[in-house]
């Protein structure tokens, strides 16, 4: 059967007028090649190219000719459209039409680490060999829904897995035998960041794991193609074969869209990106992907804000999205980012035109919308000559409509698909609205017929007398029931008339009491003058089409509109500076910040351009550096394997995390965004500056030092999670994991350097970097035995552990750490939350410091990061350290541990202007930041914060009013949900969206 299908596709694609070779056993064989000519039509090829009074000629499934002067052959069936409109029918570019839902295999309770499939890729989420036909059965019901809103073709795919295989283009024809349905097989290769439901294989669990997996697939595909693999891999074979197809990537938010593009760029692939509808939030970054987009058509309903107590649970970001989402097409159009529109994700396609009209009200052009539904998707599939267009030789896929298809009043009469008519509404129905003089039995009445939706209402009057009526117009027969002139009578009269022409006289019969009948005539007077209140509505629309509430960066509470203003120098006068350098604390000095750097420290500094800030009685310090943080992350752990050196937290940065702003308010300017501690070899770090409002890429340090997370102890041996089946389950096993991986990495490096063919393995590349001291380890650790072990392993492979983080028993092996050269980044006073921190003491930092270890105090916590100054102060309390030493624990020392001390961590001329002005000594519990500045720009200040609070309140109340208005208008609303802000730490396994 499948072979036949393929053969048939071949046939219609290249030889459309070929002989029909299928046998016929039910009847005699008939010629099915019928020619139709549609004349007197407004043929809308595009809004710039409309043929008025044109003719469209089709034969079988093809358009033969179109234009103003088309020769109509004798055999053609003539259809006079009398000024109706013809549009190309729509192409649904991204769909899972007809694909059966997959069942998830049952779990045996333990995590599964290996793949289910044989002769396929090692990871079950890579399913390049899948084709939409594998799970396809034509869905009549859905097809009918889609036809009704104008779709003729649908590009459907098996929406399961990260690499999902190929999509097929299906005709939504009523004659749904498969021979007609399949238009083109393997139109595109589809990707997503969603795991396959057909497997329980654990890897990848995180966004960065999914990106790493994709990269490895590209690497492996090259290696496989070159014939280096010993085994057959049907997934990779399919993948390689499909690389020349359009590559479509489905994403769930704008961050994922940027992530998909980033992976594509690394391998020279430009994905067509299926967006989520929030891409307007970072339009510049979206544009710079150079990708074409497929945008969904699902604008959120307003929230039900009747209950003010509930309303406070609604985040500004959600309210703004409700308001701003319908502007997205307009914004894409203005930014000249190509886009198609998909109805994928729209619960009921019936709403489609209402939503499209909304987008047009908000400023999108009809042309852009039409393109997005027709020629654009065709172009994406490289089928622009055949589908989504009205031209000679293209498939006969078109719509006949009453008027402009995007007008409220438009009716789609017919949807022709592959030359087959699908009638949606009766096209021959007459418009009988108007005023008539109705006469019977010597009486004359004024009859007014008015269209109301698809039916009519009749008004019948004689002078001042008004009769009750009920009208029905069906198959061009008009029926009117009316009450008797004598109001006390309960009798009705019925009128019936066949009407042959619109807006002309007609006659019929009256059925009265006692089965009496007599004739009546109705003389057409005029078309009713419709009074409409469109004007008021138009004014309403006008109010709407400009965005009153601007996109801010980030587009949420405490975000700000983009400012082009140049950053002015800043001059602090008469301030106490805790330098963190040999100079110690300087009293009563001036500090000038210029061009992003600390320009000068001294007395009586002057700058005419600078913003001057009086520092009398205040303290200026370097911004706090947090060695261990998990804020600003979409996901923290790739827990699917015991090593995940291939993943990078740089892929998981989330610049829209309110924790960034709150941390700035606590004086933090730089963090190491670490992978979690789910596995012995974790993922690579992202080292960030907390530049609130800027993009994920712009938060990452330029020329960033390279780091990776390792972990030891209870988390990696899964003492409190996992199914007990993953190696290692003991500290003894942990050592062997490291020895095994580094031994393999040595062998890998040797092979790579030998010039022989090798499989590029990102995980091994990372481990080689570590051994060559190009990448540094920050290792989650608690008890002394394992700390000692890891140092020995490192020494065995010729490198050093850069930092032990947490390191709560560091004080027990501080001498060994100092000798090895490892630093320690620890909690000030956490302990007793699990068995391995039973001996954790708050004096740990002080002991390590005295033993010569470079010590930092870190947060690992979205709350503590807001007050790391207090945590540093605890080393004065518990360890008896000097204030200057303690302050270094959260500034220059973590900067040293992160190899960024040449740029940040102290107040020194030439360093980055990452500084904080405090109202009191920063180690005091009474201190709070007044300004937090990164590279000379004020990212937080008390004054600015006050303004943002006011802006926030104003925007909230404006949006709430709009929502109340929407509800009063009768629009649908949705119940309020409270978004969770989850604070991630080392052992967070959930992935955030």
């Amino acid at each position: 059967m499948k072979k036949i299908l393929v053969a048939f596709v071949f046939c219609i694609s290249f030889q459309s007028f070929a002989q029909d070779y299928f046998p016929e056993n039910k009847s005699v064989k008939q010629n099915t090649e019928i020619t139709y000519a549609f004349k007197n039509a407004n043929i809308v090829k595009s809004y710039d190219d409309i043929i008025n009074e044109g003719t469209l000629l089709i034969k079988s499934e093809r358009i033969v000719a179109l234009g103003k002067n088309v020769d109509i052959p004798d055999e053609a069936i003539l259809v006079d459209l009398g000024g109706k409109y013809i549009y190309p029918s729509f192409v649904e570019i991204f769909s899972d039409f007809g694909i059966k839902e997959v069942k998830r295999p049952s779990s045996n309770g333990s995590p599964q680490y290996d793949a289910n499939r044989k002769y396929h890729y090692w990871n079950d989420h890579v399913r390049a060999e899948q084709n939409a036909m594998d799970a396809f059965s034509f869905d009549d019901k859905k097809a009918k829904q889609l036809r009704k809103v104008g779709f003729g073709l649908v590009n459907t795919h098996f929406s399961d897995g990260i690499v999902r295989g190929t999509s097929n283009l299906i005709a939504l024809s009523q004659e749904n035998d498969m021979n007609n349905a399949l238009v083109q097989k393997a139109t595109a290769q589809i990707f997503s960041f969603d795991r396959s439901q057909q497997t329980r294989q654990a890897y990848p669990t995180s966004i960065m794991g999914k990106m790493a997996l994709l990269r490895q697939v590209y690497n492996d595909a090259v290696w496989y193609k070159e014939g280096n693999s010993k085994n057959k891999d049907l997934a990779l074979e399919a993948f390689n074969a499909q690389l020349s197809l359009p590559q479509i990537f489905h994403t769930d938010d704008y961050l994922d869209a940027l992530r998909a593009d980033k992976v594509g760029d690394e391998f020279g692939v430009q994905y067509i990106i299926v967006g989520s509808g929030d891409e307007y939030k970072r339009l510049n970054e979206i544009k710079s992907t150079n990708a074409s987009f497929i945008l969904p058509l699902n604008f959120p309903d307003a929230y039900d804000v009747d209950d003010p107590y509930l309303t406070k649970y609604l985040a500004l970001s959600d309210m703004k999205h409700w308001y701003q989402a319908p502007f997205i097409y307009k914004m894409f159009e203005e930014a000249e980012i190509p886009f198609a529109i998909t109805s994928h994700g729209l619960k009921s396609p019936d709403k489609m035109f209402a939503l499209l009209r909304k987008a047009i009200e908000k400023g999108a052009s009809k042309q852009a919308i039409l393109e997005a539904l027709t020629s654009r998707p065709a172009e994406y599939l490289k089928m622009q000559d055949k589908v989504g267009t009205l031209k000679e030789g293209a498939f006969a896929n078109f719509l006949i409509t009453s008027n402009d298809i995007f007008e409220d009043s438009a009716t789609i009469y017919q949807n022709w698909i592959m030359g087959v008519k699908h009638e949606l509404n009766d096209m021959d129905v007459l418009d009988i609205s108007g005023d008539y003089k109705l006469k019977f039995k010597d009486k004359t009445y004024d009859l007014k017929l008015k269209q109301k939706g698809k039916s009519y209402v009749a008004e019948l009057k004689r002078d001042t007398l008004k009769l009750g009526t009920k009208a029905k117009f069906e198959n061009n027969w008009l029926y009117i029931t009316l009450t008797d002139e004598d109001k006390s009578s309960n009798d009705f009269m019925r009128l019936a008339a066949k009407i042959n022409d619109a807006k002309s006289d007609f006659s019929g019969k009256v059925f009265a009491k006692n089965e009496e009948t007599y004739a009546f005539t109705a003389a057409f007077q005029s078309t009713s003058d419709e009074t409409n209140d469109d004007k008021k509505e138009e004014k309403d629309k006008k109010d709407d089409d400009e965005m009153m509430i601007p996109v801010t960066y980030p587009n949420m509470s405490y975000g700000q509109p983009k400012s082009e203003e140049k950053v002015k120098p800043i001059l602090f006068k008469n301030v106490t500076v805790i330098t963190g350098e040999e100079e110690g604390t300087l009293e009563d000095v001036d500090v000038l910040l210029k061009d992003g750097k600390i320009d000068k420290i001294g007395k009586d500094l002057k700058s005419s351009r600078a913003k001057v800030i009086d520092g009398t009685g205040k303290y200026l310090t370097a911004g706090i550096v947090d060695e261990h943080s998990h804020i600003a992350a979409t996901s923290v752990n790739e827990a699917g394997q015991n090593s995940s050196a291939e993943v990078s937290m740089e892929d998981a940065v989330n610049p829209d995390d309110i924790s960034i702003y709150r941390s700035l308010a606590g004086g933090v300017t730089s963090i190491q965004l670490l992978h979690g501690s789910a596995n012995p070899i974790g993922g690579r770090s992202a080292i960030l500056k907390l530049k609130w409002g800027e993009s994920a890429e712009d938060l990452i340090y330029d020329n960033t030092p390279k780091f990776i997370k390792f972990a030891l102890g209870e988390n990696v041996k899964q003492s409190n999670w996992g199914g007990g089946v993953r190696f290692p389950q003991s500290r003894m096993g942990v050592e062997q994991v490291f020895i095994d991986y580094f031994s393999r990495a040595k062998a890998y490096e040797k092979l790579r350097n030998s010039g022989k063919p090798y499989r590029k393995d990102v995980e091994m590349e990372t481990l080689v970097e570590i051994m060559n001291s190009e990448r540094f380890i920050s290792c989650h650790s608690y008890v002394q035995s394992e700390i000692n072990m890891l140092m020995k392993v490192a020494e065995q492979f010729g490198f050093r552990i850069n930092t032990f983080t947490h390191i709560l028993e560091g004080y027990k092996v501080a001498d060994k750490m100092a000798e090895h050269g490892a630093g320690g980044s620890t909690f000030s006073d956490w302990w007793a939350y699990k068995y391995e921190v039973n001996d954790a003491i708050p004096h740990n930092a002080a002991i390590m410091h005295r033993e010569g270890v470079t010590v930092a105090i870190n947060s690992d916590d979205g709350e503590m990061i807001r007050r790391l100054n207090q945590e540093a102060a605890k080393s004065v309390k518990y360890g008896g350290l000097s204030e200057e030493e303690a302050w270094k624990f959260v500034t220059i020392n973590p900067a040293k541990l992160l190899h960024i001390d040449d740029r940040v961590g102290s107040i020194k001329e030439g360093k980055d202007a990452d500084v904080v002005l405090w109202n009191a000594h920063p180690l005091s519990v009474y201190a709070k930041p007044e300004y937090t500045i990164i590279e000379g720009k004020i990212y937080f200040s008390l004054e600015k914060d006050q303004k943002l609070r006011e802006q926030l309140k104003a925007e909230r109340s404006q949006l709430i009013n709009m929502m109340l208005k929407a509800k009063n208008k009768g629009l649908k609303t949705q119940p309020i949900k409270k978004d969770t802000k989850e604070f991630l730490d080392c052992h967070s396994l959930t992935e955030l969206n």
Partner: protein, 432 residues
């Protein structure tokens, strides 16, 4: 089997390591006079250059040295330049109920079931907990030990932190009933977000019905003993205070209605994150608040970043009686930071003396123990300590001596012992 052995081992280890507990101090045998310190009374007053005299576990007097009516007697402690404070009180605490979070065998804070007034925290309180002893070097000397979970989690008791066993530790037995008020929002794992709790009314009604039934039980002379309702008797008598754990504005208003429905005079709001929004209602109902941990993140994206920090001031300005509590993530080990919670509130606008009240006398009043503790006032327990500096600031909180009911307690702990052991190993020169 393996897991049984593991937990057994864990129990053994916990049991063994508990040996490191400091020995409780003997009864005060001689009068003690602290001379020259700044005495922070706990009621908002300060006596500079003070003379604090205590005898037989009770405070005799707190006077200024300038006032010569009192003279030092007994053992004299020279505390010139130092500060004396009443012992800090940690209400709504699970200290001594759990030793190590991740070791289930050491966890006794939550019983199964939903309505558990009869569940008493005091008998599970581990007076030898290493976590409890680590409170003392920071000045936290008293706690209200409170069970968790369920609608009515059980009955708390108030203890002091230097005792051989739970019985010795008791300051006030079975002091309060703890109700976890139904939430306005419930979490859906499938959706990954909160939506309005559809059962809110039903859950409130269930709670009311429970109270009604308990009330009816006490009015009837049924001979059948109902253990659960028996535990409610002291609630209706007014001997056991009702602590309602609730954060939302709406929830607090509903709780106040509940209070008046059942004539509950001894009524406390615990948590009270949004209490500042209904402050006038709380004030007119004369209901105090044990305010949630100051070191918290704001609940909503749009909240002021410093909202949790300034809540004490907002409530205090509105005339509400406020104490600070410490519950939340890692609550036991973090309870020693109670003074710094108060200090942070000062950084965000609260008066320093008011902040001190919120961890001493205010809390004692709210718990109903102010007649004998909570401030440095004549006749009260000599539960107090001497600090080198400002005890609300990490930089000043350095205890030299501490007393519970006049007994000079050890300020050592498992942690200080390890500090000393390893400092000695490395021959570091540390004070003490």
């Amino acid at each position: 089997m393996k897991s049984i052995i593991n937990s057994f081992i864990a129990i053994l280890i916990v049991a063994f390591s508990a040996k490191a507990q400091q020995t409780p101090a003997p009864k005060q045998s001689q009068t003690i006079s602290i001379v020259g310190a700044t005495a922070h009374i706990g009621n908002g007053e300060i006596v500079e250059n003070a003379l604090v005299i205590f005898k037989d576990g009770k405070i005799q007097s707190v006077t200024s040295l300038d006032d010569t009516s009192m003279q030092p007697e007994g053992k004299v402690i020279n505390a010139q330049g130092k500060h004396v404070y009443p012992g800090f009180i940690a209400p709504n605490s699970t200290l001594g109920l759990v030793e190590i979070d991740a070791v289930k065998a050491s966890d006794d804070e939550d019983e199964i079931g939903n309505y558990l007034p009869h569940i008493r925290s005091i008998i599970a309180y581990n007076a030898e907990s290493k976590i409890v002893e680590s409170m003392r070097p920071n000045g936290v000397l008293i706690g209200q030990i409170t069970p968790r979970g369920g609608r009515i989690s059980g009955t708390s008791s108030i203890v002091q932190f230097d005792a051989w066993n739970w019985e010795d530790a008791i300051l006030k037995e079975d002091d309060g009933l703890h109700i976890n008020w139904p939430r306005n929002f419930s979490y859906s794992w499938r959706e990954g977000s909160y939506s309005p709790n559809k059962k809110y009314k039903e859950q409130m009604d269930e709670l009311s019905l429970f109270f009604k039934k308990a009330h009816a039980y006490h009015k009837s002379n049924s001979e059948k003993i109902n253990t659960v309702f028996e535990a409610m008797k002291s609630v209706f008598d007014g001997d056991k205070k009702v602590f309602v754990h609730v954060n939302s504005e709406k929830g607090i208003l509903d709780a106040l209605a509940f209070k008046s429905n059942f004539n509950l005079n001894e009524f406390v709001i615990v948590g009270g994150e949004e209490a500042y929004k209904v402050a006038s209602d709380l004030k007119s109902a004369d209901v105090p608040v044990l305010l949630q941990r100051i070191h918290s993140n704001p609940q909503f994206e749009g909240d002021d970043y410093d909202l949790p920090y300034k809540l004490p001031k907002l409530l205090n300005d509105a005339g509400i009686l406020v104490g600070l509590e410490t519950s939340g993530q890692m609550e036991r080990m973090n309870s020693r930071n109670l003074p710094f919670y108060a200090g942070t509130a000062v950084a965000y606008g609260l008066d320093k003396d008011e902040a001190l009240k919120m961890i001493t006398l205010n809390t004692a009043k709210i718990l109903g123990i102010d007649s004998f503790t909570g401030s440095l006032e004549e006749g009260k327990d000599a539960t107090l300590f001497i600090s080198e500096g400002d005890a609300l600031d990490m930089m000043g909180n350095q205890l030299t001596q501490a007393f519970i009911q006049g007994r000079e307690i050890s300020l050592e702990s498992h942690q200080t012992e390890l500090y000393k052991r390893y400092s000695n190993k490395y021959e570091h020169n540390i004070d003490d």
